[in-house]
């Protein structure tokens, strides 16, 4: 089912357009709740895949995730002699 990303909208039920300071406060709260190890891990996350995912429509994100899992499962079942 092809979906035009322009048609896709994400609407938060309680606040259609959260203000920037609300987002910052929420982020600060979430980061503060993490232990130092997780805070360090957040800083080290490679953001490129996240940006690619956010550029897709939600339905395409689902399709990509399903395709990736199917590919991984195929590798698991049919290991090629060269890959062993």
């Amino acid at each position: 089912m092809a979906v035009d990303p322009a048609e896709v909208t994400v609407v938060a039920p309680n606040e259609a357009e959260p203000k920037a300071d609300t987002c910052s406060a929420l982020m600060a709260q979430i980061l503060a709740s993490l232990d130092p190890e997780l805070q360090q891990a957040v800083a080290e996350v490679d953001r490129s895949l996240i940006r690619l995912s956010l550029a897709q429509s939600p339905r395409d994100r689902l399709r990509s995730a399903s395709n990736m899992m199917r590919s991984l499962m195929r590798f698991g079942r049919d290991p090629s002699p060269a890959g062993r």
């Binding site: 938060a12 039920p13 982020m27 996350v45 956010l54 939600p58 399903s66």
Partner: protein, 169 residues
């Protein structure tokens, strides 16, 4: 013994549920994916509304998808029932479209009604989905205390940060 795919066809499963009018909230890995986190997930986790009418709609979809219990080592092809779906447990099913987990409650007693206020509604014109929002997803993952949930938290937080960044004009 039935042979169902080991990985969920997320779009097809959601299409079946929405098409049948089932009321549910998407949680777990599929929620993370819909929110933009590049994570891998084998199954579709949903928290369904436990009214008798909605349970009947969900059960009809599950019957059509040949749903059986996923972790029945005796391979008895046990089927989900309305009593199970109306209870408080978490049900792991194998279906003809891959693994589907209808969860009556998550995170110490949160059901459909409680979670609905913590969802984003994602709509594409033909389909409208209630997806657990990222802050709640992060909170749920942290509370489980399981290593596999803890591992995904940095990616979820980073996704939330990326989404919060001001867009370039």
């Amino acid at each position: 013994m039935t042979h169902h795919p080991p990985a969920a066809d997320l779009n097809a499963l959601l299409g079946e549920l929405v098409g049948a009018g089932v009321e549910f909230v998407i949680v777990g890995g599929a929620a993370a994916v819909l929110q933009g986190a590049p994570v891998a997930t084998l199954d579709l986790d949903i928290v369904h509304r436990r009214t008798p009418e909605n349970v009947a709609r969900l059960l009809a979809v599950l019957e059509r998808l040949d749903a059986t219990m996923r972790y029945d080592l005796a391979y008895r092809n046990l089927r989900p029932t309305a009593e199970m779906l109306g209870g408080r447990g978490q049900i792991n099913l194998s279906t003809s479209l891959g693994p589907l987990d209808p969860l009556c409650e998550i995170d110490e007693g949160l059901g459909y009604e409680e979670l609905l206020a913590h969802t984003d509604q994602i709509t594409d014109g033909s389909i409208s989905l209630h997806v657990l929002d990222l802050p709640t997803l992060i909170s749920v993952k942290l509370k489980t205390g399981r290593a596999k949930d803890r591992m995904v938290v940095p990616l979820l937080v980073a996704t939330l940060q990326e989404r919060s960044e001001p867009k370039e004009p």
